[in-house]
Amino acid sequence: MLNIHNLHASVNGKEILRGLNLNIRAGEVHAIMGPNGSGKSTLSAVLTGNPAFEVTQGEIIFQGRDLLQMSPEERSCAGIFLSFQYPVEIPGVSMVNFMRTAVNEHRKYKGEPPLTAGEFLKLMREKQTIVELDKHLVNRSVNEGFSGGEKKRNEIFQMAMLEPKLAILDETDSGLDIDALRIVANGVNHLKRDDNATVVITHYQRLLDYIRPDIVHVLYKGQIIKTAGPELALELEEKGYDWLKEDATVY
């Protein structure tokens, strides 16, 4: 589904990703772990086409297409979704209007007619329950005045609305208490299918107790320096990253 080959990317002239390789198949759940500042969010920004980040080398193929040639909105319609580490507040734009526009753009992309007002509201209600999102939140401006936990739940709600092929969850667990964590994880598991894939970016083993990864990667200084099964996450929890840094031959 996704093949990243020798990816180099920089921000403000500073190289952050330095030859990253990653392959993800449909049906898989990948976890990407790594210390702060190693480039995890940069990877998610590059995958979604954030114009602040420049790809200087390498390629990304998503479902047979050259992802780097696609605009952020096109990538979204093609099935890439990012649950932002820091969801953005947009005062004056209501959640309803925001989501209706997004959903209908996705439908347009697939050649489907826009949803009627009634159909849309029904869909919203249905998806809200998946993440137990408070009803009144959808009548507010996007993320405005939402608590940290509400913002994260709102991300998963949007994911449920858009039903992506590849979902990237960037530290969706940080700042969540156990209850919220379970709700978010349930939401993600609920949306899991054989024909889509999930990338969970996290610091902690905690979330991985709820969303079980098939493959765990360690990202360090802009490269994947280790890839293993779910047991790696436990090992990282126990030993930290230092033992891996010594192994890392690339620097």
């Binding site: 605009s71 952020p72 909105e73 979204s76 947009i90 997004a102 401006s141 858009l162």
Partner: protein, 440 residues
Amino acid sequence: MQQYIDFFTSCRAEIDAQCHPLLNVRRQQALDQFLRTGFPPFGSEDYQHTDIRDLLKENFGFYLQPPTAMQHTCNMFQCLVATLNSYRYFMLNGWFYDENAAADIPQGVFAGSLNVFAACYPQIFERYFNRQAADKGDGLSAFNTMFAQDGYVLYVPADTIVEKPFQLTNLSGGNVSALTNRRLLVVLEAGAQAKLLVCDHSTNEQQASAATQVTEIYLGEHATFDFYEMEESNRKNVRLATTFVEQAALSHAIFNNITLSNGVTRNNFRIDLSGDHAESLLYGMAIADQEQQIDNQTIVNHLAKAGHCDELYKYVLDDEAVGVFGGRIVVAQAAQQTQAFQTNRNLLGNRQCRMFSKPQLEIYADDVKCSHGMTTGQLDENALFYMRARGIPETEAVMLLKFAFMNDVIQGVRIDGLRDRLKLLIEKRFRGELASCRCV
């Protein structure tokens, strides 16, 4: 400038012939003032960015006779806010047009031509007409008084409450480039309530057109007035408008000045809160791109106790557009317990457009609450990307963000039908569809 003085002198008889004597007697004094001051000079304190002398240097034609073939124009023209349930009136090139005028208005209320009002209500006319303009006006309003031959009057007698809004559509245009001088007079006596929407249109985009407009508003004690003004002209149009407001004790008013599309616009607003506990909400919305220019100057004078004024002006500029905002708040020594707040926020679409903003506070009383704030910035890149990452195309995301930026000004409109209509118009404007779609 001299060309206008010569023209005025030579056509004086023709100008007077069409008008009520009570209008004509004001012309001489106005001429004297204009001879003294001329148009306000470019670069003077309040005219740092708008050069009136230059804007009016062209040899504009004048419509000194009431138009005869206007019926056609007025019937053809459908104002964009036509769906509003209102009492409707038209003016063409400054002349009131009574063919289509609403007739079913409440007893005692006058809405119609300035000349007719002068004839029917000479005492009220004399008490109010040109009083503020003569006292507080500059060369521009004097010029208007010299040439204005007709206009629109809304007079609501004491304790009369009119729920349905009045709507005046100003049309200007013709086959030659012309200068129109129109006049508005609003008198709400004590306890009266009314709403007025003025739409400013031009029908001919091939010709340059210019208009001066002087509006005098008098609000009696406990009167409540909503005044919405919307310009939707074209790139060859010049609009030079001055509004004077006098508010008696406990009166309450909303002023909302909207520039949707224009050429060069200058709006002067002067509000005197003359009675205790008078309250004004002052909103402005300016949308400009290409080479459009919008210059709004507001003065709010707190002259009596416990007045309240809340001012919010917002600009969205693009391309080479120029926005100017000057906001002066004066709190006189007698105006204790005044509350005066001013906010100016501007959104710039690129690096070519320019915004000049100048807040001024002059406070001579000690027990007051005053504040002002100004921000000028670009669209929030993070918000833009967030929306695109959800599949919303960039142009659509930009539109939604600009629209959201104007939301609080839109919410300041208290006529439901107008607010909904306005949302549509603003959306069209941001999509660039307004210019090509004036009629609905």
